[in-house]
Amino acid sequence: MNIHEYQGKEILSKYGVRIQQGIVANTVEEAVAGYQQIAERTNSKFAVVKSQIHAGGRGKGKIVGTEQRGVQLAKSADDISTIATNLLGNTLVTIQTGPEGKVVNKVLIAEDVYYPGASEPKEYYVSILLDRGRACNVIMASTEGGMDIEEVAEHTPEKIIKEWIDPRVGLQGFQARKVAYKLGLTGTANKEMVNFLISLYNAYEDTDSSMFEINPVLKTSDDKILAVDAKVNLDDNALFRHKDLAALRDKAEEDPTEVEASESDLNYVKLDGNVGCMVNGAGLAMATMDIIKLYGGEPANFLDVGGGANAVTVEAGFRLILKDPNVKAIFVNIFGGIVRCDRVAAGIVEAYKSIGEIPVPIIVRLQGTNAEEGSKIINESGLKVYSAVLLKDAAELITKVLA
């Protein structure tokens, strides 16, 4: 589960990670009030307005139809007011949002941490994530702060420092020191970085996170190390033991159809295509999307109805798929193992009657346990449904109904 920058920073702060302080605002008035508090505290007229959306690239992204960037420095309360007005309620398009963008519902008014002083401020990159191959967590750090790390990895892989963490003992002090020295930090800044890394790792472990990406980490002109941004991804599988973190979910950031699906315990991901699909099992669901494409369609969704497919889940699935006006056909692909095909077939017939006229052709492919009984139910129902047993035959029906 993704959370907002301001929420991520609150978590880090609890674990003693130094952060760029800020105040979150839902309205222009709150933004101005937040600015005044920060200006007083920092004794500076500078502050940054940062759009809070679940996507990166905000600094370069623009509000649709304007030149307003997603992150901007302000020098006065008037500036804050103008920028917050431009951002709040409007759609921000960044390299990560796709062309449809995301609506900015909150902004973070953050202190200016790039103030002048004894040394030059410098940006770094730090992340913690799972290394699947080694089955342990890894800290990645780089002197190339503020850059897209995938590009750094591609062009200058030698600039990425990695330190793998033994799950039996956790992050050790020497590892944090190694990273700090490899980043070229000395004196106070080095000690600050060591503390920063240790606190950050504690936060990561304690919250059952899947990824922390702090980009940039800033060394200020007075040698403090702090998190200017915080991208935090929490392990969905562990949320059951972190009720406080589960409450940070912002449904406004998710596709409304996906929210509805999750409430019916369906695993649904919205896509852009014209053929909807409903499948049991995640692997077969992905394979079904692939076959739709191979036979001339484009998948409109991923939908795994799971091992308990019945009339209720099938009806909920149809209703979700039919919300998408781009859907020109629906492909139901069930391989009955524990799930019995005759029950799924009965569910399809019931769902069909309950929904009323379904305006697009439906291809039903039932295979496995009680497949024949299932096909019989479909064929005798009088519904306008194309039925197939073999995956290949079902795939050819996709080409046919789209023609």
Binding site: A135, L271, A282, G283, L284, G337
Partner: protein, 292 residues
Amino acid sequence: MSILVNKNSKVIVQGFTGSEGSFHAGQMIDYGSNVVGGVTPGKGGQTHLDKPIFNTVEDAVKTTGADVSIIFVPPGFAADAIMEAADAGIGVIVCITEGIPTKDMVKAKSYIQGKNVTLIGPNCPGIITAEECKVGIMPGFIFKKGTIGVVSKSGTLTYEAVDQLTKAGLGQTTAIGIGGDPIIGTTTKEAVEMFMNDPETEGIVMIGEIGGGMEAEAANYIKSTGNKKPVVGFIAGQTAPKGRRMGHAGAIIGGADDTAAAKMAIMRECGIFVVDSPAEIGETMLKALGKK
């Protein structure tokens, strides 16, 4: 021959008396698997499905000589169950449970390292040696005894592949669902290696999906054996968008190497018969074996 389990395997069920454990233990017994008992703390000394219940895996192993365990306990306790089985000397542990926190699995995987144990899963359909022993939740009737080994990250997609093989007249030695989580016990490469070393297995079906680097590792291994046995491969998720979790916790495209296209390319380079369509797995295996 076959791999990991056979008709002599003595199987215990952890989470024996829960609804999932009960149902699937019954199905396994019906298939002919030698289920010798189960573990449910607090119910030791009782019986269930006419089999003894033990409080701990250690007790179960001492009394029954069990060497295989299947785990149906809830996600919050499953990693603990894996470690308990490994500690008690179980040789093959199959964990069906879906939704185990990654942190728990990192710990469990580290714990079992260096012990003489093979972990299958978690979040998997289990393992079956056709017509001998089922330690999983797959529909037994689609499997036929034969010479093809199957390794897959997915449940129903495995059934799809097996069904195509059986209909093409190709039976199976053993089929392993290794699971769709980011951290799993047995990797694709390890499973393929076992099949390569199994004298009865003549061909291998390897089904992967987006996310992680296991298929590439397996492909490189296959090449290093001089393509000793034909391998037919499929990767699910050619149409999956970047950065979205597709059902399985591990099925997410992070970087360029995670995509189906990248995996299929490296598999082709390594001499694997890669199919674009999941409907062509059976036919392609026939061709690969020179039977068509």
